[in-house]
């Protein structure tokens, strides 16, 4: 309707810019703002470090993107991250030769809980909100029981490198892990039949079903991917921390959803990009830096944080009519 008037102007932009998720516009603005109030925080090394800081939540956001596109929601990621963290630390227990087998096991466990979510949603028709909320409680309980509330164990330096180290002394290893997964996920979403089917299922499940898409299987796989990515994030987190802990301060759940939605994947699904989610996570990281630099008390921080998120989504993520 009236928004159509703006359309010709938008067409004047070069094609690649048009395709770039609009979050990057906001991201550039935020980096400029950060540079303005704290020039030291935007040196190249610091910007790369932002990518490292975003890596764990970035991995979770990748899985969350798949699930949101399918029209669902995964509330269990936070607990899966914690369980993976606790399991890895306790099982590896400082022994380098355990790293690989435990990593594989933990990823399988994450994917397994994803499969539980997927089964509840597709086979038993449980609303994703409730299914994943239930799993979230169960998985957290398991993490508590497994660790007795006080996780033990530690991570050998070889593995800690992936959380803390720098490749060639400059590029954060964690950021590399994130990038690799993001690119793979992007290919999966845009270049494979699975990705296509996923988008179609999110946009109109009935029509997709009638087009011969295994809608249940595709939805199921989205949850498996989400559980898997959450476990991967847990592994990266434990590599970052070095010990198992139930006391993870990062809010993986709301953080990941916020990043994905800010990145342009609508809450109702049927659309969405990995590049957008990637940018959404970076946006949050820059936002946190700005908040730190502003040195406000928590009350002020929370207010500014909310206002900036509101401003960002108002700026670019207007829902299309």
């Amino acid at each position: 309707m009236s928004a159509d008037a703006a359309a010709p102007a938008r067409r004047a932009l070069p094609a690649w810019l048009q395709r770039l998720p609009r979050i990057y516009l906001a991201l550039v603005g935020m980096v400029l703002l950060l540079g303005l109030i704290s020039p030291l925080s935007v040196e190249p090394g610091d910007l790369l470090n932002l990518m490292r800081q975003g890596a764990t939540i970035g991995l979770v956001a990748i899985g969350q993107t798949f699930v949101l596109i399918s029209g669902g929601l995964d509330l269990s990621v936070g607990s899966i991250v914690i369980l993976a963290d606790v399991m890895a630390a306790q099982m590896i227990n400082g022994q380098p030769q355990q790293v690989l087998p435990v990593t594989l096991l933990v990823l399988a466990v994450g994917a397994g809980f994803g499969a539980v979510n997927g089964t509840l949603v597709t086979r038993f028709n449980v609303a994703p909100f409730i299914a994943t909320l239930g799993t979230n409680l169960i998985v957290f309980g398991i993490a508590l029981v497994y660790s007795g509330g006080a996780p033990r164990g530690s991570i050998p330096p070889e593995m800690r490198f992936w959380g803390n180290g720098f490749i060639g002394g400059v590029f954060p290893a964690a950021a590399l892990v994130w990038l690799i997964f993001a690119v793979l996920a992007w290919l999966l979403l845009t270049r494979t039949t699975f990705g296509r089917a996923l988008v179609a299922v999110g946009a109109n499940r009935r029509a997709a079903h009638l087009s011969g898409i295994h809608d249940a299987r595709v939805t199921f796989l989205a949850y498996v991917a989400s559980g898997f990515m959450a476990a991967a994030a847990g592994l990266l987190l434990v590599a970052f921390i070095g010990v198992g802990t139930l006391e993870v301060g990062t809010d993986f759940l709301l953080g990941s959803i916020a990043a994905v939605v800010i990145g342009g994947t609508p809450f109702e699904g049927g659309r969405g990009t990995m590049a957008g989610s990637f940018g959404g996570v970076l946006f949050l990281m820059v936002l946190y830096s700005i908040l730190t630099v502003l040195a406000l008390p928590t009350s002020g921080r929370r207010i500014v944080e909310g206002v900036i998120i509101l401003a960002a989504i108002t700026l670019y993520s207007r829902q299309r009519e």
Binding site: L40, S41, Q53, G149, R152, E247, V248, G249, T292
Partner: protein, 328 residues
């Protein structure tokens, strides 16, 4: 570690005034006397926290020593006052013979506590303060003092001059707020009233390693000159240490709390002259609380309305690895 706990078992805390210092006039609790077995309820404030896990383990162990305990119910409020109110109400319905309570909020749970008291349930409050006197006894270490001790140490290290960064727990939770208050008092106690100290940045890091490290990284990126770190939690301090080293910045004096990871990290850097201190609230206070509850119910016991457990602290002069109660 197990041995330490066992050795602690035999202690009669209530008669050892060096451990539990009575304050105020003792009251007669004979009105509460009742035949065993007892059903005891314990409302913990959170489960996913190694300090409270230790609290729970110790009280569970202590409870196993007393055959007169018929049932010992442990639930946790997960830091939520509304949940805790409901749990107190549920304990009333359950008809527990005594209630051990770590308050989540100093005021919000008062009406529920009043109700429990009115229902004849003796309450033993410990580990966090509450603004009412309907409990039978209360067992505390002082959170303000905790922050103050940390702050005093840091001021001493910095000679009241320099830039510091602050890592809090969760603003709005009394423990976090009170410790922070203690820091403020320490700063203001400087000869110049604190004018020489600048708080560059301050953040809530939820007592967690990852948030402590991330917050410190952001602060390091923004501020080239940081002279001290006041952190009110050990895991956060450990994160701060790692962040300083990752940024290639020399370590500055840091405060922390009794936490194994932090203490180990500190010990490893002792030789390099890293200065740190650790304050600690004893986890065995839960044992004291349980003993008090049982005495209130079983014997005519003159119970002090308030007990103070000592705040211990480990400073650079001492060796950092203290006796047993550190969870390995």
């Amino acid at each position: 570690q197990d041995e330490d706990i066992i050795s602690l078992r035999s202690i009669d805390y209530l008669n050892d005034t060096s451990i539990a210092m009575p304050e105020g006039d003792a009251v007669d609790t004979s009105a509460f006397a009742k035949d065993e077995p007892y059903t005891i309820g314990f409302i913990n404030w959170s489960t996913a926290n190694s300090w409270t896990v230790q609290i729970v383990e110790e009280v569970r162990d202590e409870a196993s020593l007393y055959p007169e305990i018929g049932e010992f119910i442990i639930v946790s409020s997960e830091g939520d006052a509304d949940t805790q109110i409901s749990q107190i109400e549920d304990m009333i319905v359950r008809g527990v013979d005594a209630l051990l309570l770590i308050p989540v909020s100093p005021d919000a749970i008062v009406p529920a506590m009043e109700e429990a008291a009115a229902a004849g349930i003796p309450i033993v409050v410990f580990a966090a303060d509450v603004n009412t006197d309907v409990y039978v006894t209360k067992l505390l270490t002082d959170s303000v003092q905790f922050g103050r001790v940390q702050g005093d140490w840091l001021m001493e290290q910095l000679e009241c001059q320099g830039n510091i960064i602050v890592l809090n727990g969760v603003t709005g939770i009394s423990t976090s707020d009170n410790r922070r208050l203690g820091l403020q008092q320490a700063i203001e106690a400087c000869p110049d009233g604190g004018a020489g100290i600048t708080i560059l940045a301050e953040e809530d890091a939820a007592w967690a390693y990852d948030q402590g490290k991330l917050a410190t990284e952001r602060m390091l990126a923004a501020y080239p000159e940081i002279d001290g770190v006041w952190s009110q939690g050990g895991a956060m301090t450990q994160g701060a240490i790692d962040a300083f080293e990752a940024a290639g910045r020399p370590l500055v004096p840091m405060t922390g709390e009794d936490n194994n990871g932090f203490l180990l990290a500190w010990q490893a850097r002792l030789a390099d002259g890293f200065k740190a201190m650790s304050a600690s609230e004893p986890t065995w206070q839960s044992r004291v609380a349980l003993q008090a509850a049982l005495r209130i119910r079983s014997t005519a016991f003159r119970c002090p309305p308030s007990l103070k457990t000592p705040l211990t602290c480990t400073c650079a002069r001492n060796t950092p690895m203290r006796t047993g109660r550190i969870h390995a």
